[in-house]
């Protein structure tokens, strides 16, 4: 028990714990929608597009977290809306248009960082530093997490129906395109909320892995959504402890914990796990062979 409680005598660990709970829960809950909507790769693109906004934020407002937050939000929205505009006005599809813009944005971000008056570490952007969470970072995380979970909970039915059966959703008056944009906006906010703690790459792990794991285990979307929130929280907290015990960087430790659970579900899932499938396939094959041979015997 001491091993669990001992780290939290330090204030930076208590702040890190609160950050992990907030980010794990919010991103875990949101991950269900992202996986069902098949937005995992879009999330990857968006995560890179935050960089130029952060760089501009750093140039204009130094390292003020609110300045960085606004910069990142604007940059991501420009990439999404710009991508949509290009796909609507040309024969290019969404994925290519957004893909083209986000690599450009990422490159621009790296160049812009050279002009920042303070030294901004690219590693920090990619992998975060949960142990360096300040009060302002926590307030941003707290506010964004609360907003994201509230919006998702209010619109859960509309979002689900729009994802599952867009035509039927539209026929009963749900604005499917509007909810699609809402989901993308929430994704961007979740990434920004996790930026300081786990960085954008690790944030992606929390936005994909919890629901991807549960997708292999359950036939209930409620379990996938809310279970994703609890899996994300548990994974983030356990990863944090692991990083303290074994002296590992915290962001990667959190993602490795969630990845281990994902691999376990993929291999050993009782219904959709790959081992179960192979065994079931073999059993069916041997039974049909048995039936055939007994048929020939008659």
């Amino acid at each position: 028990m001491n091993a669990v409680l001992e780290p939290f005598q330090y204030e930076f660990m208590r702040k890190a714990l609160l950050g992990c709970i907030l980010i794990g829960f919010t991103n875990g809950y949101l991950s269900g929608f992202i996986v069902l909507r098949r937005h995992a790769l879009l999330a990857d693109g968006l995560s890179h597009s935050l960089l130029p906004g952060l760089a501009v934020g750093a140039i204009l407002f130094s390292l003020n977290p609110f300045g960085l937050f606004v910069g990142a939000l604007v940059a991501a929205l420009l990439v999404v809306l710009g991508g949509k505009m290009i796909s609507h006005s040309s024969r290019l599809k969404d994925d290519t248009a957004i893909g083209a813009l986000y690599v450009a944005a990422f490159a621009l971000g790296i160049i812009l960082l050279k002009f920042a008056p303070v030294r901004v570490d690219l590693d920090h952007f990619l992998f975060g530093n949960v142990l360096g969470l300040g009060d302002a970072d926590l307030w941003i995380t707290y506010g964004l997490s609360f907003f994201i979970v509230l919006v998702l909970a209010i619109f859960q039915r509309q979002l689900l129906l729009a994802i599952f059966d867009p035509a039927v959703a539209a026929s009963i008056g749900i604005r499917v395109a509007w909810f699609d944009y809402l989901l993308i906006a929430l994704m961007v906010m979740a990434m920004i909320a996790s930026l300081q703690a786990v960085g954008v790459v690790m944030s992606l792990g929390l936005l994909i892995l919890p629901a991807a794991t549960l997708y292999l285990l359950t036939d209930s979307y409620s379990v996938m959504l809310w279970g994703g929130a609890f899996l994300g929280t548990g994974g983030a907290v356990f990863g944090l402890l692991l990083s303290y015990w074994v002296n590992l960087p915290s962001g990667p430790a959190i993602v490795m914990v969630l990845s281990a659970l994902f691999v376990a579900a993929y291999l050993f899932g009782p219904r959709y796990g790959v081992i179960h499938r192979i065994l079931a396939h073999r059993r069916a094959a041997s039974q049909s062979a048995l039936r055939q041979s007994s048929g020939e015997g008659h």
């Binding site: 069902l36 599952f164 035509a167 009963i172």
Partner: protein
């Protein structure tokens, strides 16, 4: 009872300035199973989508019970083709049927006993009660189609728009589906069903709408589904095939 019907008045729908249906006038009465017939590209799906509010109508109007479509969205259920759904979605038959209640529940109202009772009744009338806890991919094609019907029933919709529900079903599943649709007609619902297998028309439908961008004929199967009307409905396609 003069307004107890779905009225389609002078409706034109175009895609990229090419009309898919043109100046269509139809009066469809409740308590009827209507087959919507026509060759590929005749506008069958477009008409269903226009009534469901999924495509904008360029001119004309659609009303039900004398009300504009936008006021009666809940009374109209659109049942898409089976292929458009991700059947791997983590949802059981019961969960999918419960989605039929979403339109009346909105975002906040909790799913209560009355809603659960409606879902149970929907599962019973579509004979899905034994399969209620199955994941939807563990169903046959006919059972999946019945899940769509159960969801529309749970929505308590009066007008059902079905896009090719009989496609890809074996004879037994077709008969099961037909029996349930008959039961819905007996409850006074209006079913508009797009269909392409002309051989099965007389056994499945009471009336037919024959469409080829414009209305060719509409009425009871016995008097309307004639070889002359069939030839006229499919003529444009035949011409396109025969004349280079």
């Amino acid at each position: 009872m003069s307004n107890h019907r779905l009225s389609i008045r002078d409706v034109t729908v175009s895609y990229d300035h090419v009309p898919a249906i043109q100046n269509l006038n139809l009066e469809l009465r409740c308590g009827c199973c209507m087959g919507l017939l026509g060759p590929n590209g005749a506008g069958k799906s477009t008409l269903l989508k226009a009534i469901a509010g999924l495509v904008a109508i360029q001119s004309g109007s659609i009303s039900y019970h004398g009300h504009a479509r936008s006021h009666i969205a809940q009374s109209i259920a659109y049942l898409p083709q089976r292929g458009v759904i991700d059947w791997d979605f983590p949802i059981t038959v019961r969960g999918m049927v419960a989605m039929g209640r979403f339109s009346s529940l909105g975002g906040w109202r909790s799913f209560g006993k009355a809603d659960a009772a409606v879902v149970n009744e929907s599962l019973e009338v579509t004979r899905l009660d034994a399969l209620a806890e199955r994941q939807i991919n563990a169903l046959s094609g006919g059972q999946q189609q019945r899940t769509f019907l159960a969801r529309a029933y749970a929505q308590q919709a009066q007008v059902w728009l079905l896009d090719e529900p009989f496609t890809g079903l074996d004879t037994n599943s077709q008969n099961d589906l037909r029996d349930i649709l008959r039961a819905m007609v007996a409850q006074g619902k209006l079913l508009l069903v797009s269909h392409h297998d002309l051989k099965t028309v007389p056994e499945l439908f009471d009336e037919v709408v024959m469409l080829n961008r414009e209305l060719v004929a509409c009425g009871e199967v016995s008097s309307t589904f004639t070889s002359e009307n069939i030839a006229q409905t499919y003529a444009r396609t035949m011409q396109a095939v025969l004349l280079p």
